[in-house]
Symmetry: C2
């Protein structure tokens, strides 16, 4: 157990803490925690924006749940919380950015803003960053472009967890791909997907529930297929597609695409050279890629066609009347509506107790319902 | 049966035609056939280059096998074999091209050359085309960039065949994604993948052999899962990932990504609006997208890192010593070596007989072994 976990666990959370919180309060708590360990408020705010957005969208594994990791990185001084990125190389349409080991969202926002600026000028902006850290949900950056009427893409490399077809060891991370594209009246398409069959989080959930995982999700630590969720937790993930019979090599190829756009293009660690995510003895030195495309440089009427195609899908007959056909971004939209209806984000009590202890250790006011 | 098939089948191929041919002879035959139906030699040559490359790489479904379709399009005058594309709109880094219903490879080469030129000037070139036709293997255009030390990507929309997760009818085509990236000494990474679990060709092969297909490849025409290859032939394909339990919605999201970059961005038919591929009563009006990125605008040493990562994968222990771990592009590399070793491309005798009849009908010298 690391230092932070140990210290934090000297406290006991009171019984019966509330589990539902307004997102502004979650934001406040994240900022306070990050500032308490030396992060300047603007950088702490950028991280909080992103973690809250993840929870609002229902991606709890990438939200408040990750706060302790970021705090730990600051305490261990492996992340430079106050750093601002610099442009190392630039053209009208491209840039290579050095994140200077800053917080992932700080690096990511800087790069995406730059890509958007370039796209507005030349139609496309392509920005690669090295020296970055975990940047949260990839979709955040893509949506930053789509909110301005542009197409946005984002990619990040991550620590090894995914095994190539026929292999027995991991080479790549779950390397996500995100694409956001604007429809009419605020409607949008938001694809944000790991290039593995499922994320590690889904295996973890099955493990906690003591349930098996489907065949084709994971391998055990020896590289053999397994449906035992604990063995899967100790093992590896299969790339999207799964086994070779179902074209898992395509998913692995997509994971390679992400790594090519990230570590290989940015000249930083890639694939098996990336630090194991559980180790905090040196900076993560992750690489990311941000692309913005201005559809007005192509045929007029992009947003109308986008919404028409999405409407076609949503209006299709579903094999299960209880569960309609959805478009990428719809599950998140439904979750946001749920939070609004309920007046707050509902967390698991274990997570709330854990955060209460973290706040106590850091001398930060716990979240107030 | 259409006119061409009927006329052609009035001839009988002689017994025992050879099945192995030098690629130059295959090229000659394709050019002669296309010229015989009114295609100017340069355009016929561009098509032949691409079909021969597909066969050399072992993608027989996209090679000589498609010649009759192209000949038919010319005979029916739904494709303008002599057309040259025009730039409809342009910036330093982008272009929208009108293919003017020209042959797919003619449109594709024009667009990729343009993307490469722009990438060399600004670091990235992004070109969308409308008014195009079937353009063969997407990897061809991507490789055209990687041969010049650039990264190349290409995408095309295709006729509906893939069902969204929970859906019962097709919305998108098998919409391929291609990425090629240069390594050292001619080594390269070439991903060229349909965004469905498998291409229609694999189902067709199973059907011809009278074999079942694995669960998770296809649905029948009513939208129900099937392992019967004939029902699958009459039905639909599942997106990469397969069923919802294995994240088929990710594959569908990738198919949408392709359509967004093609029909939606180019302002042309998309998704369910695309002509059924068996109908030749009107132009296909396909859209395609071509991207080139010059890695020298980012960190130096791209090719070395690319080869290092590929070597790492290739040298991994395989679960099956007979079948090593491969990188995207390796199966095609192995096939090209096989053709070289054997001194020619070997076709199925049925295909050769069919082409002999086609040549006879068109008054073209059959292929000579």
């Amino acid at each position: 157990m690391d230092f932070l976990a140990e210290e934090k666990n000297k406290f006991s959370a009171p019984e019966g803490l509330p589990t539902k919180y307004r997102h502004e309060e979650v934001h406040r708590f994240i900022v306070d925690c990050m500032v308490s360990v030396g992060t300047p408020p603007p950088q702490a705010g950028a991280l909080a924006d992103l973690l809250v957005a993840a929870d609002l969208r229902g991606h709890f594994s990438h939200g408040l749940n990750r706060l302790e990791m970021y705090v730990n990185d600051m305490l261990k001084k492996v992340c430079a919380g106050g750093a601002t990125p610099v442009i190392a190389k630039e053209s009208v349409s491209t840039a290579l950015v050095d994140g200077r080991n800053g917080l992932g969202p700080v690096v990511g926002n800087f790069c995406m803003d730059l890509a958007i600026k370039k796209a507005k000028a030349t139609g496309v902006g392509w920005v690669c960053a090295r020296g970055s850290n975990h940047y949260g949900i990839a979709g955040w950056y893509a949506m930053s472009a789509s909110k301005q009427g542009l197409l946005g893409m984002s990619f990040t490399n991550t620590s090894s967890l995914v095994v190539p077809t026929r292999g027995k060891q991991a080479v790549l991370g779950t390397n996500p791909i995100a694409l956001a594209a604007p429809g009419v009246k605020g409607d949008d398409f938001v694809l944000d997907m790991a290039t593995s069959v499922v994320s590690g989080g889904k295996v973890e959930v099955a493990c906690m529930k003591g349930e098996d995982v489907p065949a084709g999700w994971a391998l055990d630590k020896h590289g053999a297929p397994t449906t035992d969720s604990q063995q899967a937790m100790d093992g590896f993930l299969l790339p999207l597609g799964g086994f070779e019979t179902h074209s898992g090599y395509k998913g692995f190829g997509l994971g390679m695409l992400v790594e090519i756009f990230c570590g290989i293009m940015a000249g930083a660690p890639y694939g098996p050279n990336i630090r194991d995510w559980t180790r905090t003895d040196r900076p993560a030195d992750l690489s990311q890629c941000f692309v913005a495309i201005d559809p007005s440089f192509f045929a007029p009427g992009f947003e109308g066609r986008m919404t028409d195609l999405m409407s076609h899908c949503r209006n299709m007959e579903s094999e299960d009347p209880q569960n309609p056909v959805l478009v990428a971004g719809d599950p998140e939209r439904l979750h946001m509506r749920k939070v609004e209806r309920e007046g707050g984000i509902t967390y698991h009590i274990n997570q709330i107790n854990n955060l209460w202890k973290l706040g106590k250790y850091l001398g930060v006011t716990p979240m107030q319902a």
